[in-house]
């Protein structure tokens, strides 16, 4: 299959250098925040790098070098990728809810943030919401594991009460292992006593 494909590409290549019927095109474009990243494209025969908005590269076949990077116009991009771009999901929204020290009770501010979570879930018609429990590093690790679980469950109970479907919710907890603000052990840090909610 692979050999056959290669033979076809090579045959076409001899007939017409620029109109390969097989192959891959990779285009680097700015993201929603206007930022352009970086991508390296490699084959068995070579490597090409893209780092500018609109830069594209064609790979004709695995045994050939990637072509020279060129700029593909926005109009052309939208022509080729129209239907995929039309269903591009919005990035998830993340909320951090904070807790009282050594407790599964939220701060008053965070309690009032729950209605925003529910609103965002409704606006996005979200069916997939993660609840991730965390603690700071005061106290021992096993205890904090249980505390982060209790916090996650407390948030889950609130969201269910506010009408979120149980099938939309998934729960995880990490104890003191994934702090927002890294600290030494046994340090109280309010910003790490949190439950992160990801609304997709």
């Amino acid at each position: 299959m692979r050999g056959q494909r290669l033979a076809i590409v090579l045959l076409l290549g001899t007939l017409c250098v620029s109109c390969a019927t097989k192959g891959t095109i990779v285009v680097l474009v700015p993201d929603a925040r206007g930022h352009t990243g970086h991508v390296t494209v490699s084959t068995e025969a070579g490597v090409a790098s893209l780092s500018e908005a609109g830069q594209a590269v064609v790979i004709a076949a695995p045994a050939t070098k990637p072509g020279d990077p060129y700029f593909m116009s926005e109009k052309k991009r939208e022509g080729i990728f129209q239907d995929a771009l039309a269903v591009e999901p919005e990035k998830p929204l993340v909320f951090n809810l904070y807790f009282k020290s050594d407790s599964d009770r939220m701060t008053a501010d965070s309690l009032s943030l729950l209605k925003d979570v529910v609103k965002a879930a409704a606006e996005r018609d979200s069916r997939d919401i993660s609840i991730n429990g965390h603690t700071d590093r005061s106290g021992d690790a096993d205890y904090n594991m249980r505390l982060s679980n209790a916090r996650a469950h407390a948030v889950r109970a609130h969201l269910l009460e506010l009408g979120i479907a149980p099938t939309s919710l998934s729960l995880a907890y990490f104890g003191e292992g994934d702090p927002l603000v890294p600290t030494a052990d046994n340090v109280h840090e309010a910003r790490n006593r949190r439950v992160e909610i990801v609304v997709r």
């Binding site: 680097l28 474009v29 993201d31 390296t40 239907d83 039309a86 998830p92 594991m145 982060s148």
Partner: protein, 146 residues
């Protein structure tokens, strides 16, 4: 037996590394137009908003179909008509420093916006096509596989 061992390993890991969905969900379907499917082993499931995704799943769209998914590291992937993609590898465990992601783009058109894996472990996001491999440091890419 394998399952029992996996379960034991999972249980023993819980106290040390935390607990995340034991069913290993890697993402979910967010948008669907026309015909789109999740291929899982022998099963061909019609993709719907909220359908959970797992490593080794394949996504396939019909001639009028398109689909968009969000993965657990907040990356998004959407694909146009007559497209096919395999979720070859996805491992996102920030509390353990484990990050990997590989999508096998078999044919069609794709829009990928990288997420936390690409941010935390540059070049660990691999997009494979029959012709080559794109290593993604960020963020938004369009890929067409003919």
């Amino acid at each position: 037996m394998k399952f029992m061992i996996a379960l034991l390993v999972l249980v023993s890991l819980v106290s040390v590394t935390g607990y995340a969905e034991p069913d290993n969900v890697i993402g979910s379907v967010k948008t669907v137009k026309g015909e789109a499917f999740v291929l899982r082993g022998e099963a061909k499931l019609r993709a719907e908003k909220g359908t959970r995704l797992f490593v080794q799943d394949m996504l396939q769209t019909g001639r009028d179909g398109s689909i968009g998914v969000i993965l657990r590291d907040d990356s998004t992937v959407s694909m146009g008509s007559s497209s096919k993609l395999a979720m070859k590898d996805f491992d996102f465990r920030p509390s353990e420093g484990i990050f990997s992601m590989a999508l096998n783009m078999i044919k069609g058109t794709f829009v990928v916006v990288s997420g936390r894996i690409a941010k935390l472990a540059p070049d660990s996001v691999k997009l494979e096509t029959p012709d080559g491999i794109a290593s993604v440091r960020g963020t938004k890419l369009l890929v067409k596989v003919k």
